[in-house]
């Protein structure tokens, strides 16, 4: 029977092999790596930045960075840990550069109550309310939450990717949960 761990290991080995080729300037290897991981990078960046165009910019930056730095990669760490670190850094840089731009309207309730007086919200509106509530979180809380909830990273893995302490990551996630609970409380009765 084909073991999932074996598949993961083979993919991992393959990532390492691709990186060795990329380090020697092999663009075909880079193309393969991009096509293997771009969806993961794009969705993480989109959930953090809230815009597809910004997510695509970050995605390009991430893989260009990998192309430049592939020679410095040490295979003793998982490739995805390194990838998440680069994505986190690029997302962070992007937010720093555009810190004056509002990420989204920080009023999740508006999307919920606007629909009709009977407070009935359909699926899209609920999704929009959740998206706005997440977008309204402070950057650190949002990044930690997205990595934890949507990428399934452990607190230790998030700490490794962001360079924060595990305690700081946990604090961010706890605060994010508390904030979301407060903002989205009215959705609980709308299912």
């Amino acid at each position: 029977m084909f073991d999932a761990n074996q598949a993961k290991e083979e993919t991992q080995t393959s990532d390492h092999a691709l990186l060795r080729r990329i380090a020697s300037g092999d663009r075909e290897a880079l193309a393969a790596l991009v096509r293997r991981h771009q969806e993961r990078v794009l969705t993480l960046a989109f959930r953090f930045l809230g815009r597809w165009d910004a997510a695509e910019d970050v995605c390009q930056d991430v893989f260009l960075r990998i192309f430049q730095k592939a020679g410095a990669y040490r295979p003793d760490a998982q490739f995805t840990t390194w990838l998440y670190r680069i994505v986190a850094n690029r997302c962070w840089d992007h937010r720093r550069k555009s810190s004056r731009e509002p990420l989204a309207q920080a009023d999740p309730g508006a999307a919920v109550s606007r629909s009709d007086g009977a407070s009935r919200v359909d699926r899209e509106e609920r999704q929009e309310a959740i998206r706005r509530a997440v977008a309204a979180l402070p950057d650190r809380q949002r990044l930690a939450l997205v990595m934890h909830r949507f990428e399934g990273l452990s607190h230790a893995a998030i700490a490794e990717a962001t360079g924060w302490s595990v305690g700081a990551v946990e604090s961010c996630i706890v605060r994010a949960y508390a904030s979301l609970r407060e903002r989205l409380a009215e959705l609980q009765y709308e299912k």
Binding site: E39, S154, V174, Y177, A178, L180, R181
Partner: protein, 160 residues
């Protein structure tokens, strides 16, 4: 009784606890209604977040990445030349600077104080520079002092 922390509840809901930690948490939850409610709150937030599904971007970013790489490769020779030139210039400047610095440090410098000057009598000083050989000041004597001795004195016109 120690209640479960918010972090433990979040990690429990996310399946991020070890089996031992999970067992301890379950045991506590069986006996603690307050923590059960807190866990439900955490789970409700998780359930809301699960509703936020996004369609994966159908866009392939590779063509843009490839274009960027090609564009940077196009300007690379000029940059490479500039880079090499600036490195060589930096090494030369560093070498010259180090040599100058080392030479400056090797030469003894006076601090300007009288204590640093060698002490000698006026006679000793004159003897050191050969002035004691001059018997009496005269125009030719002075001339011989200021005229450098050369092996080929034919080039020098003697003043009348």
């Amino acid at each position: 009784m120690t209640h479960l922390s918010q972090t433990e509840l979040i990690r429990l809901a996310a399946g991020d606890l070890s089996s031992e930690q999970r067992h301890e948490a379950r045991s506590h939850l069986d006996a603690c209604a307050s923590c059960r409610r807190a866990l439900e709150n955490v789970r409700s937030v998780g359930a809301w977040l699960d509703e936020w599904t996004i369609e994966p971007s159908a866009r392939d970013t590779w063509p843009d990445i490839e274009r960027t790489l090609e564009a940077s490769a196009g300007i690379r020779p000029a940059w490479a030349w500039m880079e090499r030139f600036s490195r060589v210039a930096a090494v030369i400047l560093l070498g010259v600077g180090s040599g100058f610095g080392a030479g400056w440090l090797a030469i003894p410098h006076s601090t300007g104080g009288a204590a640093d000057l060698p002490t000698a009598s006026a006679e000793e000083a004159l003897a050191a520079v050969g002035f004691d050989a001059i018997e009496a000041p005269s125009a030719t004597g002075l001339y011989s002092l200021i005229t450098p001795e050369t092996s080929d004195s034919n080039d020098v016109e003697v003043a009348p």
